[in-house]
């Protein structure tokens, strides 16, 4: 047991080495891309041939991109919160790299969630937007993503920016349960949970299957983009370090 624990600890430390991490990314990325393309192919075919909903009609197809986007909008902030702990508590060298590059991806999916929700809302609710608790809390999440991106771009030193962003991320994480339970705590136009709920999903299997396939495809897409963006960020920091070394050398000469 002890040997196993220390082996796991060693693997964790090994992964903390950015060069080793880059090697791992190079190895994993092609497989992730293939899995992503495969699941999207299945998901989109299923979404295309899914039957109309008895109330929503064909607009249920918008749900196949709206729900996975909403899931990723929250998952991404959750991931950044774990990374924030990694930065503040364990000082893991890759934690702030993971947090920094997740923000634009999370913002992209939150934007997609808001847009597709509006496009569904117009024919179904009769309005593109309503200031109910669910919609407003997701809009707040989107604005917080933009704030984080701005913070990362404002502070030049990545480690200083990382600590400030980690604190902001953890404070912002309070919004996650508010988003999730807003439909239960307040009287909202947005429907209550129908997938992740006690007692199981309330959706018919013919619509639930494409929804889950698309959720899997979107999650794989997120992981692929995140790993690739982390690789880019490590390279960007190498460039920064080499330029600092060059400046140091020039000053010393």
């Amino acid at each position: 047991m002890n040997t196993q624990t220390s082996a796991q600890a060693l693997a964790w430390i090994d992964l903390a080495n950015p060069t080793r991490f880059l090697t791992l990314v190079e190895r994993v990325l092609p497989w992730l891309v293939a899995a992503c393309v495969g699941t999207f192919a299945v998901g989109l075919v299923q979404a295309f041939f899914a039957p109309d909903d008895y109330q929503q009609g064909a607009t249920v197809k918008i749900m196949f991109i709206h729900v996975p986007s909403a899931w990723l909008a929250m998952f991404c902030w959750g991931l950044m919160s774990v990374a924030a702990l990694g930065t503040l508590v364990w000082r893991h060298p890759l934690a702030d790299v993971a947090a920094k590059v997740a923000a634009p991806i999370g913002a992209g999916f939150t934007f997609l969630c808001l847009i597709t929700g509006s496009l569904w809302g117009r024919p179904m609710w009769g309005t593109y937007w309503v200031w109910d608790a669910r919609l407003t809390s997701v809009l707040v999440l989107f604005l917080m993503y933009l704030g984080l991106i701005a913070l990362w771009r404002t502070v030049e030193d990545p480690s200083r920016a990382g600590r400030a962003a980690a604190i902001l991320t953890l404070v912002g994480a309070i919004n996650l349960p508010i988003i999730k339970f807003s439909v239960d705590w307040w009287n909202t136009l947005h429907q209550p949970a129908s997938v992740f709920r006690l007692g199981g999903p309330t959706i018919d299997a013919s619509i639930l299957a494409p929804l889950l396939w698309m959720a899997l495809a979107f999650t794989l897409l997120f992981l692929t983009l995140h790993l690739a963006a982390m690789r880019n960020e490590i390279l960007r920091r190498r460039v920064r370090t080499l330029r600092l070394m060059q400046a140091h050398a020039a000053r010393g000469a």
Binding site: A58, T59, I65, F109, P123, A228, R240, T241, L244, Q246
Partner: protein
């Protein structure tokens, strides 16, 4: 299969998804190319991680 009376909304929603996902993929690919070019340029000028006589900074160790 028909998209019914609200086909426009469905098509625009999928179009927006394609644009956002396409933009994220393009960002990752272009950024990778740009960073690789910058690194190659620095190395071509003899500024390598191991080639320099300057002591490594905290950033070198973490990146």
């Amino acid at each position: 299969m028909t998209l019914g009376p609200h086909a426009d909304f469905i098509i625009v929603a999928y179009g927006m998804a394609a644009i956002v996902v396409g933009a994220l993929i393009a960002w990752v690919l272009f950024d990778y190319g740009a960073q690789k070019r910058l690194l190659a340029d620095l190395e071509a000028r003899g500024i390598g991680r191991r080639g320099s006589e300057t002591k490594p900074t905290a950033d070198t160790r973490s990146a």
